[in-house]
Symmetry: C2
Subunit: 310 residues, 2 copies
């Protein structure tokens, strides 16, 4: 029973690791059976030294795309087996040039035919009628270089957030998301509860708009555009703390700007608080600039006013 099979692509990393370890173990066993004091993990470094005659630690690291400490450790291991010799560079005293010892050269001669056989066998082992597993890995590495998996996943996660219009069934989410935000950063003022519990009368009936961010059938963020004398006010923006990192605030903001432009408005404004640095940064990033705040602001927490010209 191998449950790892069931997990399919998600266990891909584990599966690959396991397969590579299995094959490494088998190759190790081959060396052991032939009474050769060698190890498959040493192969890349050893073979590189053999091919290049004389090469420095840093160069090996660059060649093999493994870290420099790893190379140092491999060289120590090769030194312990007396397979390589180290000669300090004449021009650069920091540098160490590694080359094969006599024992190392003798071992290469012995290993060469074995390597040849192993390569043939491995080629057959990983071959499929259509292509080789090695080729497949190479193409996958290319994918990674073109656009790392991390970026692909994050983009897809962000793309799967939908921005949707107000619906009364989300009234509860509107209230809860905002209350949670207020309780975390400030405290709930009487006027807050009044507005948040009655979005229909306070916002929508007054030609305002409310949007929601939905992820996986869950409401994870909200924002409102409220009709004020001067212009529309971007307000009531709240994102579920459970879904940080998904750039939900950014997407809600993008939606508001796009919507406002469609409506033909000249500008929108917002009130915020200077202590909310990440939020202020986002506002500035999309083009909001600071203007003096009036004296008779509706909420105590509002100590900054910003305007975006569309």
């Amino acid at each position: 029973m191998d449950k790892l099979l069931e997990f399919r692509e998600l266990a891909f990393g584990s599966r690959m690791k396991r397969l590579s370890e299995t094959l490494m173990r088998d190759v190790k066993q081959v060396y052991k059976s032939l009474y050769l004091d060698f190890d498959p993990t040493l192969f890349p470094v050893f073979k590189t030294i053999s091919d290049e005659k004389s090469i420095s630690t840093g160069e090996i690291s660059e060649y093999l795309q493994i870290t420099q400490p790893a190379v140092t450790q491999f060289i120590n291991s090769l030194m312990k087996r007396e397979l390589v010799i180290i000669t300090p560079d004449i021009n650069d005293k920091r540098k160490k040039n590694i080359s094969l010892s006599e024992k190392g050269s003798a071992l290469v001669l012995k290993l060469d035919p074995i390597w040849k056989i192993m390569e043939e066998e491995l080629t057959a082992f990983i071959k499929r009628p259509d292509t080789s597993l090695m080729n497949h890995i190479r193409l996958t590495e290319q994918n990674q270089r073109d656009k790392p998996l991390y970026q692909r996943i994050m983009q897809r996660i962000r793309n799967s957030i939908e921005i949707i219009d107000y619906d009364s069934e989300y009234a509860k989410d509107f209230l809860e998301l905002n209350l949670e935000w207020l309780e975390t950063y400030f405290y709930v003022e009487p006027h807050d509860t009044e507005v948040l519990e009655n979005p229909q009368s306070y916002i929508l009936d007054n030609k305002g708009y409310i949007f929601f961010a939905r992820f996986n059938n869950e409401i994870v963020g909200t924002v409102a555009l409220i009709n004020e004398d001067e212009c529309y006010e971007l307000s009531k923006m709240a994102v579920s703390p459970k879904y940080r990192g998904m750039k939900i605030g950014q997407q809600l903001m993008d939606k508001c700007i796009e919507f406002s432009k469609q409506q033909g408005w000249e500008k929108i404004m917002l009130y915020s608080n200077r202590s909310l640095t990440p939020a202020i940064n986002l506002y500035r990033k999309v083009g909001f600039y600071e203007v003096p705040v009036e004296n008779e602001a509706l909420y105590e927490r509002a100590d900054i006013k910003m305007i975006l010209e569309l």
Copy 2:
């Protein structure tokens, strides 16, 4: 510059490991970006517990084909994150049943959509027009189960040993291999040198035969069939100590038996020494049985005589 590419199939294990580590790192980064206290290495164990509701350490180990200490360590890690709870089994006090804690169940709910997206993205990432890398790995794992790589390589190494007839250009090898063997196990008697230096007159001209084992254009072993009054004597068998583990002695022996049968001989015999246990074992294995040794044996070291009926 990536020299690992040049090594092709030989660096296959390293390449796979590197790719799986790269992908693991990317997935780790995704969790981090989403502020999720989770790690891709925990996935197989965590998901198994989630799927099975309640499961013991040993069962997880069997399911995932990872060692039991690894499972114990993963569970410790999950316990530290308070994602699982451990309940001792009622019937078997050694057993520990692992199940998700409330926090763990909540995390599964949060992770499920992320996993879904990751799986889709990974599927696309490793897909080729012809097949998926995952499928390719699966088929390679099947190869390993059918016949492990170790056996394939060893068999090929053994198959690449050729048994060839005597040629005067190998006279030196015949001498050296035998001298080396004698010096290691006994000492060189005067008659030895005389025979080994003149195989033509002492063996071949007297209707004897000499065979060599060749590997990678190097003579790695030898054996002779010497015409004696009673019957042919298998003698002068020597294998290069550098090539132990390749079953060269076995192959030389097989050749001699096959050849003797072809010649229509009724039996062959050999002299040896009781201290050479591996050799004696080989002789017995192929069917030689012990007979009393004559008093006037040619060599001091001969304290056992064996016969094989063909």
